[in-house]
């Protein structure tokens, strides 16, 4: 018993010592806003670096960093260099919360940029108290329309059009295309906010699918499931019809479905419409989908085609990628990362030399809609709106994975996530590329 007590004391003491060792000596900073000095601005991003989502989006932080490095080599923002700290959340909510909190409390970043993932970031935002500390949460990489809620996410700015917008515009594409309109249509979507937002969008557009949408949990779609799913649809539809098959899921799931179609000789049985996330042709081809399969498939984008080097923005970003991010091939995700980084630089410039968090948020609200960007859709930032791009154009993929606009010319429709109003044809023309891709906010 005596020994026992001593043991207990010993272990308690050792635990306390261990706990004490974690007490890093730190005085709460009372200076202006953390993360900004005369020479540096610290920004942070959380995203998955392993797993199915990382497959397409692993390049994103590297592309952003490459663009920031380019700006740093060209004088930075008002003399300050941008440092991007990238943390892995493995697409798990708990890690996202911890890593976002670490960015704020340990790395003391000035703002979060480009955080990726709906289920992860929506929790991390609250858990890391971004609202309370007024940490700007710029250009989140998710199309979940729920982030457009100033009461709940007061410092968040969206950049991607929402999945609901995408669904509304897909519905319009189906309705406007004579070969698709009379055909049965089906939706296979991921069973999370992605798919549900999409289902909501189709409902708003009044589009009815032939059978209830098939929703599968993210990452749990197997080849066998995809096969039985497609053969089920195939059996249910008369052979004369060419049904429309809409896929709203991550690229690996899209690839599995397309491969199942190859196996079942059903690639030309359907008209395929891949959402903006899953329609990433480069990744699909890398995952072993045959070029002939994706040829003719419809995909959505709000950017110019990432393979179109005649586009001023694309060719400039390609040059930067070549010099600062050699290992990664240029694709949609790199384009998206560099574009977000470019928007970030313009936001920081717009906030002025005396950089504060409140000032940055104000600057985007008042000037964000006028930023130069590669996007072919307008940005919709204002005092009341946190929506970024709000439109899509549709193209058909060719065997090389290039997205060629339907009808030979980019036709972009804009819409919203909440009303039943039909998408409208956009007359927006984007600003020309700032000289050498270095924003001056002119």
């Amino acid at each position: 018993m005596i020994r026992n007590t001593r043991m207990k004391r010993l272990s308690i003491v050792s635990a306390l010592v261990a706990a004490g060792s974690m007490l890093v000596s730190s005085v709460p900073a009372l200076a202006a806003d953390p993360g900004v000095t005369a020479t540096e601005i610290k920004l942070g991003i959380t995203s998955p670096k392993t797993g199915t989502v990382a497959l397409s989006y692993g390049k994103l932080p590297r592309a952003m960093k490459a663009y920031f490095d380019y700006i740093n080599d060209n004088g930075g923002v008002y003399g300050r260099k941008i440092k991007l700290i990238s943390r892995d959340d493995k697409y798990l909510p708990q890690l996202a919360a911890t890593q976002t909190r670490n960015l704020v409390l340990s790395d003391k970043v000035f703002a979060i940029v480009g955080a990726l993932g709906t289920a992860t970031h929506s929790k991390a935002y609250v858990a890391a108290q971004l609202a309370k500390n007024n940490v700007p949460d710029l250009f989140v990489n998710t199309g979940f329309s729920g982030f457009d809620d100033k009461a709940k996410y007061p410092t968040t700015f969206l950049v991607l059009p929402s999945y609901a917008m995408e669904a509304k515009i897909i519905a319009k594409l189906i309705a406007d295309t004579p070969t698709m309109k009379p055909m049965p249509s089906f939706l296979i979507a991921q069973d999370d906010e992605f798919g549900k937002d999409g289902v909501k969008g189709f409902a708003l557009a009044g589009h009815k699918f032939t059978s209830n949408p098939t929703l599968y949990p993210q990452g749990s779609l197997t080849a066998a499931l995809a096969e039985s799913l497609l053969s089920g649809v195939n059996a249910a539809v008369p052979a004369a019809a060419k049904p429309v098959m809409v896929l709203m899921g991550t690229t690996d799931s899209t690839a599995l479905i397309l491969k199942a179609a190859e196996k079942l000789s059903l690639t030309s049985r359907f008209t395929w419409i891949a959402g903006s996330v899953g329609g990433d042709a480069n990744t699909l081809l890398a995952l072993g989908v045959k070029p002939a399969t994706i040829e003719g498939a419809y995909a959505a984008s709000f950017f110019p085609d990432a393979k179109d080097s005649t586009d001023a923005y694309v060719s400039q970003f390609m040059k930067i990628n070549e010099k600062y991010n050699k290992g990664d091939s240029f694709d949609n995700v790199v384009l998206q990362g560099m574009n977000s980084a470019m928007l970030t630089v313009q936001s920081l410039r717009a906030a002025g030399k005396n950089l504060t968090r409140a000032g940055l948020i104000k600057a985007i609200e008042s000037k964000g809609a006028g930023f130069a960007s590669a996007g072919l859709a307008p940005l919709n930032y204002s005092a009341t709106s946190r929506v970024g791009y709000n439109g899509y154009w549709f193209g058909q993929l060719n065997a090389k994975g290039e997205l060629k606009p339907v009808g030979g010319k980019v036709t972009l429709y804009t819409t919203d996530s909440t009303s039943t109003a039909a998408p409208v044809l956009s007359s927006f023309t984007r600003k020309p590329l700032p000289k050498n891709g270095i924003p001056t906010n002119q």
Binding site: T5, M7, K8, L10, S11, I12, S14, A15, L16, A18, A19, G20, M22, L23, V24, S26, V27, P28, K49, T50, G58, R62, R87, D88, Y91, L92, P93, Q94, A96, A97, T98, R101, N102, L105, S106, T118, A119, T120, S122, K123, A124, V126, A127, Q129, K132, Q190, D191, D192, E193, K196, P217, Q218, S220
Partner: protein
């Protein structure tokens, strides 16, 4: 169980609580939030130790039991408007009852059969959330307990509030467990663990004792689950991946599976290792594959070293040295 030992134990827990209170006032937000996580992990590890170390049943699926508590806590707070403390108590009891039912069905299983069943439970239970609208699907349910009570003052931060709740919950629960283990029940648990045949010969109803241990452990895990999702402001299936169950098992082994006293150390290690790995990575750099894989590598290496060198926990090692 005599009264003096209970008194002594209570005194020690009060002392720890007082020290934690003092620490809590002197550290910054980051450490407070880490401290809350340490307490939560410590509690989850305690639930595994209770089951595995003291009653000899191996569970690979404690994440699932935590998920039960987590959903109960979030749903009762959101839908019934219960105060978080009541919600957490409810989470504990519901998870306990769940464990009781589960324990009854698996009481006849042992060793790898039990391990397999709990493993299957860990991968299947969270996916059930996708079936029912009320559980919020993949996105899950928010669990926001709101700001700390106004009477604590203006500068009483949310992280401090979390730290208080988690530390207090862990202390009370571990105090409760250690009292049980010192009682008649604890002795039957140990008898069952050390020699099931002798235990049943001695008239112990092994089935009933196993079920009881399962229910207790499950309740504790449920509370830890509730605390965990409080810290991340919401519950969703992906908050309880299989890796969490394995991580907690690692914590239990590193602590020493039959040593309840080390749980705080176990929790501390689970929180500290990834941080250490991150800082190592940021210092030495390296390829993307290397930097991403290093934290997992360190945790696994630690686990193996713990099994090889201190299979019965660091406390046991000290104990041996003294002789």
């Amino acid at each position: 169980m005599n009264n003096t030992s209970v008194k002594k134990r209570s005194f020690i827990f009060l002392a720890i609580g007082w020290v934690l209170l003092l620490i809590g006032d002197r550290v910054d937000e980051l450490v407070l939030s880490q401290g809350a996580l340490v307490a939560t992990y410590a509690l989850a590890i305690a639930s595994i130790i209770l089951l595995t170390g003291y009653s000899g049943q191996l569970s690979l699926g404690h994440g699932a039991l935590m998920a039960v508590g987590a959903y109960v806590a979030a749903l009762t707070t959101n839908n019934l408007g219960l105060p978080p403390v009541i919600a957490l108590v409810l989470a504990t009891f519901t998870a306990g009852i769940f464990g009781l039912v589960l324990g009854f069905s698996v009481a006849r299983l042992s060793g790898p059969y039990l391990a397999g069943t709990t493993l299957a439970l860990a991968v299947s239970l969270p996916t059930i959330a996708n079936q029912f609208e009320i559980l919020g699907g993949e996105q899950g349910v928010a669990f926001d307990i709101g700001l700390p009570p106004a009477r604590f003052g203006e500068d009483f931060s949310l992280y401090k509030w979390f730290f208080w709740i988690c530390a207090l919950a862990a202390l009370i629960m571990i105090w409760f467990i250690s009292n049980i283990l010192a009682s008649r029940y604890g002795r039957t648990f140990r008898a069952l663990r050390d020699n099931p045949v002798a235990a049943s010969l001695a008239g112990i109803n092994t089935g009933r004792v196993k079920v009881l241990a399962f229910a207790l452990s499950s309740g504790v895990a449920g509370l830890a689950g509730g605390l965990l999702v409080m810290l991340i402001s919401g519950v969703s299936p992906s908050a309880f991946p299989l890796s969490l169950s394995f991580l907690l098992l690692t914590g239990a082994v590193v602590t020493g599976v039959y040593n309840l006293k080390g749980v705080m150390l176990g929790g501390l290690i689970l929180v500290a290792i990834p941080e250490i790995a991150e800082s190592v990575v940021s210092r030495i750099g390296g390829s993307e594959g290397f930097t991403v894989a290093l934290p997992g590598f360190l945790v696994s290496a630690l686990l193996i070293l713990a099994v090889v060198f201190t299979p019965n926990g660091p406390g046991h090692l000290l104990h041996k040295r003294k002789h």
